[in-house]
């Protein structure tokens, strides 16, 4: 343990001398949180809409204003031909178009069923699905206005089954509350892996690793010592991120703080161990860097449930997500922060994180031992 500490102190001195790296590690996480916390959200409002009103009657204008008043749509263009709609769509100036055929007003007055057309840019399928839902709801409720008369005489009315939704944990469905824990995991993972990935390989490249080899120190204390200063730095940075999101984004901490710190500590140990393992495997910093990015940067975003729901992935891929530590951390983090769950609920996740951390540290030590032997 004393030896590990000695390595830790040596590493810390080296970090201190590289001011830029230290500043990056400490302050960038909070800066990131600010930037992305404000910039990123999935809430879809102000969809750019073009209106092609070939009818131009009170009824058609009513339908258009129903779209605009819903606040989901912003009317950015009024056109008269389909070609104009095409051009606007190709240039991404509009996301949706409402086309009202001639005769809508006449048909509605006569009680003849009629139809309107809605075009949606489907490139981004999530946005498109939501926009489609909005358009359907608006048209259905407009349509209902004209149907009222006919339906009033049904025994018991037209509402047979009514759905009353209630949302727990995040009643306003603010995407910030969903994204901020994910950002925290992402930022922590990147800082931890990136900072340690070069720690050993740098010594290899410069030849100083020979001196360490001759020193009376085992590989495991060496690995643990190497990760110590980075652990302290990333821990401090992560707490900064949590405090900042509590103050700025009203992120609630509904569970126990001790449990939060425990899960954070376990996750960071795993991430640092991962970085050191990469560092032990790679021969040059260039390769270590590539490995670090490909193994942490992309999986943490894509395979952790941060943005894309794991339950929608193909089964084979769902299996792979079990080796992504951020997956467990996110469940634990969202549980403690948003749901206020206790130790018993997230114990499996914490266990998985602990196993991952131990495993990568041991592997890194073994790999070094092989090389030094």
């Amino acid at each position: 343990m004393r030896k590990a500490l000695a390595v830790g102190i040596k590493e810390f001195r080296q970090i201190r001398r590289d001011r830029r790296t230290l500043m990056i590690l400490l302050f960038i996480p909070v800066f990131f949180l600010l930037l992305y916390g404000y910039a990123l959200n999935f809430d879809i409002k102000h969809v750019r809409l073009a209106v092609e009103d070939r009818d131009y009657t009170p009824q058609s204008r009513r339908l258009v204003s129903a779209f605009v008043n819903s606040t989901y749509f912003d009317q950015v263009a009024s056109v008269t031909t389909d070609a104009e709609v095409n051009a606007l769509m190709d240039r991404d100036q509009i996301r949706a178009a409402l086309i009202i055929p001639q005769g809508l007003g006449r048909d509605l007055t006569r009680g003849v069923p009629t139809a309107v057309e809605v075009l949606i840019n489907g490139e981004n399928s999530t946005t498109a699905a939501t926009v489609l839902g909005y358009a359907q709801t608006i048209i259905a409720s407009e349509s209902a206005q004209y149907e009222m008369l006919g339906r009033a005489r049904i025994p018991g009315g037209t509402t047979v089954v009514k759905l009353e939704p209630r949302v727990w944990y995040n009643p306003e469905l603010r995407s910030t509350l969903f994204l901020v824990p994910g950002l925290l995991a992402y930022i922590a993972m990147i800082t931890a892996v990136v900072s340690t990935a070069l720690a050993v390989v740098r010594e290899k490249e410069r030849g100083t690793v020979e001196q360490v080899r001759m020193a009376p120190i085992g590989t495991l204390p060496f690995i643990v010592g190497k990760s110590l200063p980075y652990f302290v730095i990333s821990f401090v940075a992560a707490i900064g991120v949590i405090v900042a999101s509590m103050v700025l984004f009203d992120l609630p901490v509904r569970g126990s703080v001790a449990l939060l710190l425990l899960s954070l500590g376990l996750f960071l140990s795993g991430a640092l161990g991962m970085g050191l393992l990469i560092s032990a495997i790679a021969e040059s910093q260039q390769v270590a860097f590539q490995m670090a990015l490909l193994s942490s940067f992309l999986p943490t975003i894509m395979l952790s449930g941060f943005i894309y729901p794991i339950s929608s992935m193909p089964l084979a891929l769902q299996v792979i997500t079990y080796i992504v530590p951020a997956r467990y951390f996110l469940v634990a983090l969202r549980g403690v922060l948003l749901k206020g769950v206790g130790f018993a609920v997230i114990a499996p996740q914490l266990g998985a994180l602990a196993i991952f951390a131990t495993l990568v540290m041991l592997l890194a030590a073994r790999k070094l031992k092989q090389e030094w032997a």
């Binding site: 830029r20 790296t21 930037l35 990123l40 959200n41 809430d43 190709d90 009629t114 139809a115 057309e117 075009l119 840019n121 489907g122 399928s125 999530t126 946005t127 498109a128 839902g133 349509s143 209902a144 206005q145 149907e147 005489r153 049904i154 018991g156 037209t158 047979v160 089954v161 009514k162 759905l163 939704p165 209630r166 949302v167 727990w168 469905l173 509350l177 969903f178 990147i190 990136v194 070069l198 740098r202 490249e205 040059s284 910093q285 260039q286 390769v287 590539q290 990015l293 940067f297 992309l298 975003i301 395979l303 729901p309 339950s311 929608s312 549980g335 948003l338 749901k339 769950v341 609920v345």
Partner: protein, 375 residues
């Protein structure tokens, strides 16, 4: 020209030194694209749904079978009491819980409205929002069917809908999120791989002290930067072909536009990513610094602010102008345009010109910066 060739040759020899580099450059992108191509789906389906059936009647079972038959929901379990919902939602074993009240079938039979309660786990706000929309439209359709039955029973003709919504989705009619995501992933992978490789190119020589030796050779700083850039450009172009082949043959993404334009614009895009890497390399003192600067100041902001995952129009007005500084933003518009919309130069020229200008500017900056370090 000969000198340029020597710098290139030297760089290639150095790249060959590390046997792992080969697999990282050529195999990793293919694996990554395959994995991410499947992972990056925002489609919401098989939402785990918990049923709280307090009625246990044929009517309630009929409603449940509607949810069971829908591809959007999969029934995770059935409990009898609302109090049992908590552990399911806490552990994430169910996202939604549908409560059918004890008097459900009486209400239906007696001509009174029945109220179903749906409890949703709001932590994943966007997926939950979509799932709730599906639930609402499912109940809506079921409701209409029941209402129609009632009217017919009462001897009325069911009235048709007054205004029918005919909705057409363009460019991606099946709303397949893969079509949208994969061109973006191609752009992202190229950025991550090429920028990182080249960001080490100059600073490594600094760190190892060999830059001094290059300083005393008659190589101009221009030749140094371009000579370093070209080998990586070759690697990058091979990666372009690799990932596009996987996108076309494996994922069967339709390529509606011109393959030539796609290749040419990819080349311009590589100019920006490699130029950016070399620029980072010239402003850093150690490889660790280069790596941090690259990841934190360039890659991460570019990823999040490019419109790849989060739509730019959802961002606050202050942030939106910043996104114009990001080359990935332009390239994503270009690849998605060429792949999905089949549009060409006449529509895409502003993006292509912006990308080219960005690339030339950043290579120029890298050359300008390298003077100071050479002197």
């Amino acid at each position: 020209m000969r000198r340029l060739w020597y710098v290139m040759w030297k760089e290639l020899l150095e790249l060959r030194q590390d046997p792992r580099l080969f697999s990282i450059i050529f195999i990793a992108p293919v694996i990554q694209l395959t994995l991410l191509g499947y992972a990056a789906t925002t489609d919401v389906k098989d939402v785990p749904l918990l049923i709280v059936d307090q009625d246990r009647s044929p009517a309630s079972r009929q409603l449940i079978s509607r949810f069971d038959a829908s591809p959007y929901f999969s029934i995770a379990g059935t409990v009898g009491n609302v109090n049992d919902v908590d552990p399911w939602l806490e552990r994430g074993k169910a996202w939604l819980a549908l409560t059918i009240p004890a008097d459900y079938h009486e209400a239906i039979d007696g001509g009174r409205p029945a109220t179903l309660q749906m409890i949703a786990d709001g932590t994943d706000s966007s997926s939950t929002g979509i799932a709730m929309g599906y639930a609402a439209s499912l109940v809506n359709a079921y409701n209409q069917e029941l209402a129609r039955q009632r009217m017919l029973a009462a001897g009325h003709d069911a009235p048709p809908t007054a205004i029918e919504a005919r909705i057409r989705v363009w460019f991606n009619p099946e709303l397949e999120s893969r079509y949208f995501m994969i061109p973006g992933i191609v752009a992202l992978l190229l950025l991550v791989i090429t920028t990182n490789l080249s960001s080490m190119a100059v600073v490594r020589e600094k760190e190892l002290g060999t830059l001094e030796q290059l300083n005393v050779t008659p190589i101009t700083r221009w030749q140094l930067i371009v000579g370093k850039l070209l080998p990586y450009a070759v690697i990058g172009l091979i990666d372009v072909v690799l990932v596009i082949t996987v996108a076309l043959l494996w994922f069967r993404i339709p390529l509606l536009g011109s393959p030539v334009l796609l290749f040419v614009t990819s080349g311009i895009y590589l100019l920006t990513t490699l130029g950016l890497g070399l620029f980072i390399s010239t402003i850093s003192d150690t490889q660790q610094q280069a790596m941090m600067t690259g990841t934190f100041f360039f890659l991460t902001p570019m990823l999040y602010l490019s419109g790849f995952i989060f739509p730019i129009e959802n961002m606050p007005a202050v942030i939106q102008p910043v996104t114009y500084l990001i080359p990935l933003r332009y390239f994503i518009v270009i690849v998605r345009g060429i792949f999905l919309k089949g549009i060409g130069w006449s529509v895409l020229w502003p993006q292509i010109v912006a990308l080219l200008a960005w690339g030339i500017a950043i290579v120029g900056l890298a050359v300008a910066r390298s003077r100071k370090t050479l002197n």
